[in-house]
């Protein structure tokens, strides 16, 4: 059961790698394999949420020797969102025309890497799945193979290779000080290890994950890449791939190195505030919708950083809820920003409202959770500053979203409607309806993020 989604994506990817993905039937086959994998993840999720975490040791080795796969509420919530985003972005590309023979296979390999990463219980395996996802995304970044995409792909590859090297060094340092690669055992042994070595390992891992997330001092690659690549690939990167950073912060930072996370929480809060302000101001100054959304992505991850730094069940559940909702928002915005008819404009407006946190869109609930988090911060001045920054960030996002909306659609909307493939418009409208649906009925998302947060705090159900 636990292996099913992984196996579906991996075998599907291997099979499709041999076929020509430009053909319509192969493209549809890819979509159905992705849907089957998504369904398998959803079934796994239902199982985990009703019966508790599942664990499988690969190759029937005894526990502690073999590599473990572990599915808990946190991993399942993330893998379900990431696969969903990949499925939507893939269908969007399929609704137009797939231009490269490797696109379906690479999407499936990306799904394999992400699912494996969210469901593994072994730190080195985390790195291996991380690399599977990254290598697929390096090639996806060049998708389209125009000059702009190639340049974006080179920047993306070099910067993220540097991130991977740092990540590897961090994981191995953790192995050296704890003598194990099993995440749960590392977490159990960290309290008896000297503080300084784990702090060094933690710093390496934080920088590597920060590069992935695109938080303030490590953001320099992000705008060039997100505006350079195809809209569907940008949606995959910003919706699914960036979740690695948030997941790593939660799983490694909060789950394995809570002591070091507590020590470094002032740093995280400062970087988070810097990201929110920098991303917001840069977005206001941009014209192109994809550049606006790219800088907005830098601002949005700042909230995750602040929520993780404050921690506790309120902070972690806010971080998880925000990451999930942000993934859907970014997918919606990148896909809708790619079209210029008025229906796509409607979807873009819903996405903008969701980013700004206006009621009825689901972003409202993530902003509410974040504000609640900022109220439980340590001490009165910090609470005031954080609440102020959250409100400032919200105002800035409302401003840049409506600027870019007006610029893109008010004028363009008067042209002949539905010039691009109508299926594409239907896909973004469905995403917009989903955003409104969860905005009106957020209970399942709130419950899921709460359950996922409890897996990070020992001693809670």
């Amino acid at each position: 059961m636990l292996v099913a989604p992984l196996a579906v994506f991996w075998i599907g990817g291997l099979l499709l790698a041999m076929a020509d993905g430009r053909r319509r039937d192969i493209g549809l086959l890819g979509a159905s394999i992705l849907s089957i994998g998504f369904g398998a993840t959803a079934l796994l999720g239902r199982d985990v949420l009703t019966n508790g975490a599942l664990e499988v040791v690969a190759g029937s080795w005894p526990t502690g020797v073999g590599i473990t796969l572990r599915a808990d509420a946190l991993g399942v919530a993330f893998s379900l969102t990431a696969t969903g985003v990949l499925l939507v972005a893939y269908c969007y590309e399929l609704a137009g025309r797939i231009e490269s023979r490797t696109f379906p296979a690479l999407t499936l390999f990306l799904a394999t890497g992400l699912t494996g990463l969210f469901l593994t219980g072994d730190a080195f395996n985390f790195y291996v799945f991380f690399e599977i996802a990254m290598v697929s995304s390096y090639i996806l970044a060049a998708y389209g193979e125009e000059r702009r995409q190639l340049r974006a792909a080179v920047i993306f590859t070099v910067v993220n290779l540097l991130g991977s090297v740092l990540f590897l060094i961090g994981i191995v340092s953790l192995y050296h000080v704890t003598g194990t690669l099993d995440m749960a055992t590392i977490a159990a042994r960290i309290p008896i290890v000297e503080a300084n070595p784990t702090l060094v390992a933690g710093t390496f891992l934080f920088v590597a994950l920060g590069v992935k997330l695109g938080i303030f001092p490590f953001h320099f690659w992000l705008p060039a890449v997100y505006t350079g690549v195809h809209a569907s690939v940008a949606a995959m990167f910003s919706g699914a791939l960036a979740m690695i950073g948030a997941y790593g912060l939660l799983r490694i930072g909060a789950g394995m190195l809570p002591r070091d996370l507590a020590v470094s929480s002032p740093v995280l809060i400062v970087l988070g505030i810097a990201s929110i302000v920098y991303g917001g101001l840069q977005s206001v100054a941009r014209h192109d919708p994809s550049a606006v959304v790219a800088y907005s992505a830098i601002g949005q991850v700042g909230y995750i950083l602040i929520a993780v730094a404050i921690g506790g069940s309120t902070g972690y559940s806010a971080a998880i809820l925000f990451t999930i909702i942000n993934a859907v928002n970014k997918t919606l915005l990148f896909l809708a920003g790619d079209q210029s008819n008025q229906y796509a404009g409607f979807a873009y407006a819903i996405g903008g409202l969701s980013v700004a946190g206006i009621p009825l869109a689901m972003g409202f609930w993530s902003k509410t959770a974040l504000l609640r988090t900022s109220m439980v911060g340590d001490g009165y001045p910090l609470r005031v500053v954080l609440t102020g920054v959250m409100i400032l960030g919200g105002v800035l996002s409302l401003l840049y979203m409506f600027q870019s909306f007006g610029r893109t659609y008010w004028h363009a909307g008067k042209g002949p409607a539905l010039t691009v493939a109508p299926t594409r418009t239907v896909i973004v409208l469905l995403l917009a309806i989903l955003t409104l649906f969860f905005g009106i009925w957020p209970d399942p998302l709130l419950a899921l993020s709460q359950r996922a947060a409890f897996t990070l705090i020992p001693g809670t159900p």
């Binding site: 291996v128 390096y138 060049a142 000059r147 590859t157 290779l161 540097l162 090297v165 191995v172 192995y175």
Partner: protein, 140 residues
């Protein structure tokens, strides 16, 4: 021994980072390779104990080297190999498309492209703004 290895890792990672900042994309690739080799050496010497090769039959009463780090290094080497092949092919495509491997020239081209796009935009910008202003006026 530990100092020697530490210095070797420092040289590898230091020169790798230096090359990563160069303008020539081939030098960037060499930088990435040196960085990865530094990381591989780091993994090898992060082992928990040193000793004879961990191959059966083991000699009695002698320490054996930690086999796990060797397995990890091997995995990391394979990944590095694949990724650097990919990076080289990507750079080859860049060379075909732009006829240059110099990042400064590439960035210059990007700027030129952006400027060209901007002049396009500014051509219809006044009209745009006017339309938006009219819309806003109506809304008010």
């Amino acid at each position: 021994m530990t100092l020697l290895i530490a210095v070797a890792i420092a040289i590898l990672i230091g020169s790798g980072s230096y090359l990563l900042l160069k303008h020539d994309l081939i030098q960037v690739v060499v930088g990435v390779l040196l960085l990865s080799h530094g990381a591989n050496l780091f993994i090898m010497f992060a082992g928990l104990q040193k000793g004879a090769a961990p191959i059966y039959p083991l000699a009695p009463n002698s320490a054996i080297a930690d086999p796990l780090v060797q397995a990890m290094t091997l995995t990391a080497i394979v990944i590095t190999f694949g990724v650097s092949a990919l990076l080289l092919s990507l750079i080859y495509r860049v060379y075909i498309a732009h006829a240059t491997l110099d990042t400064a020239t590439l960035a210059g081209e990007e700027e030129r492209q952006e400027r060209a796009e901007e002049t396009d935009e500014s051509a219809d910008d006044p009209e745009d703004d006017a339309a938006i202003l009219v819309e806003e006026g109506r809304a008010l």
